[in-house]
């Protein structure tokens, strides 16, 4: 089976740039653990979907063979820069672009020097691909796509990887609940801003642990609006679509805050 791993991870730069902050340390440590699990699974390519790469026209896929640069987050610029050097599996990306036609979704490749790779993808790449040995396929979050379409995109990407015989891992990058602190806080006191969000997040994570897949989807339909979930949890839809029948529950490696919003590192059993 070429699918070797699947993880759901946060896209905030805070856990990367301030890993020693007590509320964020468990998530940073878990992110490293997820990286070690991926390394042990030995994929050739990561199929990445980040809620922070926004698209409105077409479904965009990164097709530049090597993307390099220095990124500064537009919100958390004071905590440092994010240098990056990422290799793209352009053959697989092209196959994904071709594959979405069957969904009625028009896709386009993005191959431009200086293209602003989103913060979430860079954070995940840093933790999960620290030596840059793995190639990536990066898909955008088209704002007009719903859970089902995103799930289908994940399935298309997985089929394309299998068609090319790749050993692949699936990575969904985004947060959980979306209530944030709108005032400046002592970072050491960060916590989930809303008790209701906290309860809902824990219920979601319990659901992911045990499944089954249709229960996850049903739960998310109610959870997403109630918890103001990050982009309707489409990063989870990407994973669920790619996993398909291979979903066997998951292990929650860490759960915690990101300036009031929810974040988790989840390793799916494959």
């Amino acid at each position: 089976m070429p699918l070797v791993a699947a993880v759901l991870v946060p896209g905030s730069p805070l856990h990367l740039l301030r890993p020693d902050n007590p509320p964020w340390a468990p998530l940073a440590n878990a992110y490293h653990s997820a990286g070690a699990l991926l390394a042990a699974a030995n994929p050739e390519v990561l199929l990445v979907y980040s809620t922070q790469w926004l698209a409105v026209l077409d479904e965009l896929w990164q097709t530049r063979a090597r993307v390099q640069g220095l990124h500064v987050d537009e919100n958390w610029y004071e905590y440092g820069d994010l240098p990056f050097d990422i290799a793209i599996d352009t053959t697989l990306a092209a196959a994904c672009i071709e594959g979405t036609a069957s969904l009625g979704v028009r896709s386009k490749g993005v191959d431009y020097d200086g293209f602003p790779i989103d913060t979430g993808t860079l954070v995940a790449n840093h933790f999960l691909n620290p030596h840059g040995k793995l190639r990536l396929v990066i898909a955008s979050n088209n704002l007009y796509h719903d859970w089902q379409t995103t799930q289908q995109l994940g399935a298309v990407a997985a089929r394309a990887a299998e068609g090319l015989g790749r050993r692949y891992a699936v990575v969904g990058i985004g947060g959980l609940s979306g209530t944030i602190f709108r005032e400046e806080i002592d970072l050491a006191s960060d916590h989930i801003a809303s008790p209701t969000d906290d309860r809902l997040n824990r219920e979601l994570l319990d659901c992911l642990r045990t499944g089954p897949a249709d229960r996850v989807q049903t739960f998310c339909a109610g959870y997403a609006p109630a918890a103001r979930a990050d982009m309707g949890m489409k990063h989870l839809a990407w994973i669920m679509g790619a996993l398909g029948d291979h979903y066997r529950g998951a292990q929650v490696l860490a759960y915690g805050p990101s300036y009031g919003s929810g974040a988790a590192v989840v390793n799916f059993h494959c």
């Binding site: 026209l57 500064v72 537009e74 820069d81 005032e183 400046e184």
Partner: protein, 300 residues
């Protein structure tokens, strides 16, 4: 030091297509023109700006989205390449700009005094967003006037339209106070499209104007209604209608620049001058000017 003043405000939308169509040397992408009516509108606005001779341009952009408060560019000189994540085929712009940090700091301080969260962006590697750059390029391609760049806090989307725009009005008041204390003669730029319903696929030739028209007739009608009220100086009515306009036309003014600018100007009931209107991938865009230096502000 004489008291500073806001001498004009412009509604100055930021479709990157306009820069693309103009083929300036800073932009890598090349075109065969297109969107001439809007570019000619900006030509008229450029002449007005030349006559106004401001000390500083302040621009509020919906494409620098911030969650925690209202942010201000705070590095004296910023340069780099800004690639539009939505239209990378059209906009890959090598920018170099000078920031009026002193005024930006004063705006930030005034915002904090009014109870808003204000933050100064001090990272020299920061990539300025394409909304800020497009508006500034289209209004002043010489790049010879210092600028203040303001982010768009996501409060109108996170809270509610009304609560978010109340914050933007406070930000406008803070901006006005800072300008008055600075001694600067300032021009405000609201980088907003009107109706924001747009097509979901791009033509094979982006500048093929045979493909360009309003996406929504209802949205177009809303734009004409708002523009006509603005031309007549009926500002109060516009702001009474604004929530409905935003709701029904998916208007980008929701992101706050329009409210910020009018609040800073004191919601003047003076006729706005329409330099031109046009659509870009179906959205409605008006270039308009409110010249506060004119001796007579009588409604036509």
């Amino acid at each position: 030091m004489p008291k500073g003043e806001i001498i004009a405000g412009f509604l100055a939308p930021h479709p990157p297509h306009l820069v693309y169509a103009e083929n300036p040397p800073q932009n890598e992408a090349r075109s065969q023109g297109g969107w001439e009516q809007l570019r000619w509108a900006y030509e008229r606005a450029r002449k007005s700006l030349e006559r106004l001779k401001p000390d500083v341009l302040l621009v509020h952009s919906p494409h620098w989205v911030t969650q925690l408060g209202h942010h201000f560019l705070g590095v004296p000189q910023l340069r780099g390449k800004s690639v539009d994540p939505i239209f990378p085929n059209l906009f890959r712009y090598n920018f170099e700009l000078e920031v009026d940090v002193e005024l930006a700091e004063a705006c930030c301080a005034q915002a904090r005094e009014l109870g808003l969260v204000g933050k100064m962006m001090r990272n020299p590697n920061f990539r300025v967003d394409y909304g800020t750059i497009t508006t500034l390029h289209m209004i002043r391609p010489q790049w010879d006037i210092p600028i203040v760049g303001l982010s768009a806090n996501n409060s109108p989307y996170y809270l509610s339209t009304e609560a978010g725009l109340e914050e933007m009005a406070l930000l406008g008041l803070a901006t006005r106070r800072a300008i008055e204390q600075s001694g600067r003669r300032a021009v405000l730029l609201a980088s907003n499209t009107l109706c924001h319903w747009h097509f979901h696929e791009e033509p094979a030739i982006p500048e093929d104007m045979s493909q360009e028209h309003p996406k929504s007739y209802a949205g177009y009608q809303w734009d004409m209604r708002i523009i006509e009220l603005l031309r007549q100086g009926r500002t109060h009515e516009v702001f009474e209608l604004l929530p409905s306009f935003i709701q029904e036309a998916f208007a980008e003014v929701k992101s706050g620049a329009f409210t910020w600018m009018f609040s800073a100007m004191g919601y003047p009931e003076i006729p706005g001058e329409l330099h031109g209107y046009g659509t870009v991938i179906g959205t409605g865009n008006a270039v308009m000017e409110w010249d506060l230096t004119r001796p007579s502000h009588a409604v036509n």
